[in-house]
Amino acid sequence: MTEPVIEIHNLAKSFGGLRATDDVSLTLRRGEIHALIGPNGAGKSTLIHQICGTLMPDSGSIRLLGQDITTLDAAARAQLGLGRTFQISSLAPDFSVLRNVMLAVQGRQRSSFRFFGNVMADRSLTDPAMKALSQVGLETRAAIPASELSHGERRQLEIAIALALGSKALLLDEPMAGMGKDGSRALTDLLDVLRRDTPILLVEHDMDAVFALADRISVLVYGRIVASGSVAEIRENPEVRAAYLGARP
């Protein structure tokens, strides 16, 4: 087995007396979708914040492609190839769809301190951006403002941005939330293709999508990983059934 893309060791974070992340270890390997599930309040968001660099852990370590990124900020992690989408879409609303993606291309090229040259006439920005848009099927919507996109399209745009960033790993925070059935299916198909190039750490509530996509599943309850394994193993795990899937028939 090759070296994991993301490797998290004994991560811990407390707020006051509350242990939001309690000795969490997990890995993301090449070519896989690793789903992270857990009930509300299990600490998924806190964990994602720490992986992305918007929150610093109390202890433990995070490595990306073998490099220790535990103390780096969000922008540095993004530059190293950690792409993410947000639970609630986070875009530049006044910008066109294309500009939103171009921003990521620019971030990848680390070329933000160029003060001259019209970006819209700059093929080195627009071409990769259009390519990422066509990957998610948004190329026809390139010119409209991001604020006018439908909910599902915003999800697609977020993924296009992550792709344009040239991400080595994707962190998707509930990408299916609020999507209709058709949208979910289209997105599932997209992720299925994407995983070949870019492994995905998928935080998701939609169990159908999780079971359809995931190679491995980890279950987070009260900040701890209570189980980790293949789809079948998780389905059968009594502890998981009791703690999390209990409500399901």
Partner: protein, 323 residues
Amino acid sequence: MNRETAFNLVLAAVLLAAPVIAFAANEPFYVALATRIAILALAAAGLNLALGFGGLVSFGHAAFFGIGGYVAGIFASHAMYSEPLPFGLPATDQMPVIWLVAALLCALAALPIGAISLRTTGVYFIMITLAFAQMIYYFAISWPAYGGEDGLSIPVRNSFVGLNTANALHFFLICYAVLMAALALTWRIRDSRFGMALQAARQNEVRLAAVGIRPFRIRLTAFVLSAVLTGLAGALFADLNRFASPSMMSWHMSGELIVLVILGGTGRLFGPVAGAILYVLLEYALGGMTERWQLFLGLILLGVVLFARGGVVGLVAGKARYD
């Protein structure tokens, strides 16, 4: 050509034509009034870079305006008596040199002020920039070397190679050229990669960081550039009035600069020009009509905020769009 570009060209043409005609008609005062408009538009264009494009509501830009003004004043007073400047630097009354020094000093001041202020956001940012400006204001008031609150007279306007700066039209043309250069620069920056990152920082800084661009550096750079332009305006303003004073740094001045930007249209290229034309003409016309002019000025400003969102440019050209 879209409506906004057309309107911008009209503004630029009117601002150039009006004083030329006034000069020909032997009405030098209206040339001075147009010069004032051009200079205030330049100061507001500087602020617009930070406030309009970057969303950084600086309530302390008067500090840079004042620093620029004092540079012009100090150079002029030393050059007048051929005394060397502090640190033994040679004094000169050449505007380009003065502008360079004003720009450098404003950048030097804006760097630490911005670095500290940009740790905060929202109202905190508004207030901490005000605090820095107040510090500089009180320093200027109590600093006896250059006149304190009495200010600093500029006996003879600083000079510019090949032009007679005492001639109202010549001086206007200098200010107009600097304004147009600054607007061209703003335009190029707005459409550049840096401009895209800056405008993204205004809309969504988390998004910007998530694509690997640090908002702090982008904003700090914009803040410094913005301070430099406002400082240049300050140097010209002092030469226009032949006077630099601490009141250039007062919080009222900072407020007025914000008013100019909003009045014209926040984040619009020619917003500051439209704002300065409207504000100066209002002040002039109302001041000539009644001693209660501030009351009516207030009512008009209030009406603009409540009923004419997007300022003058927004009113004429509609909402800003990014292709």
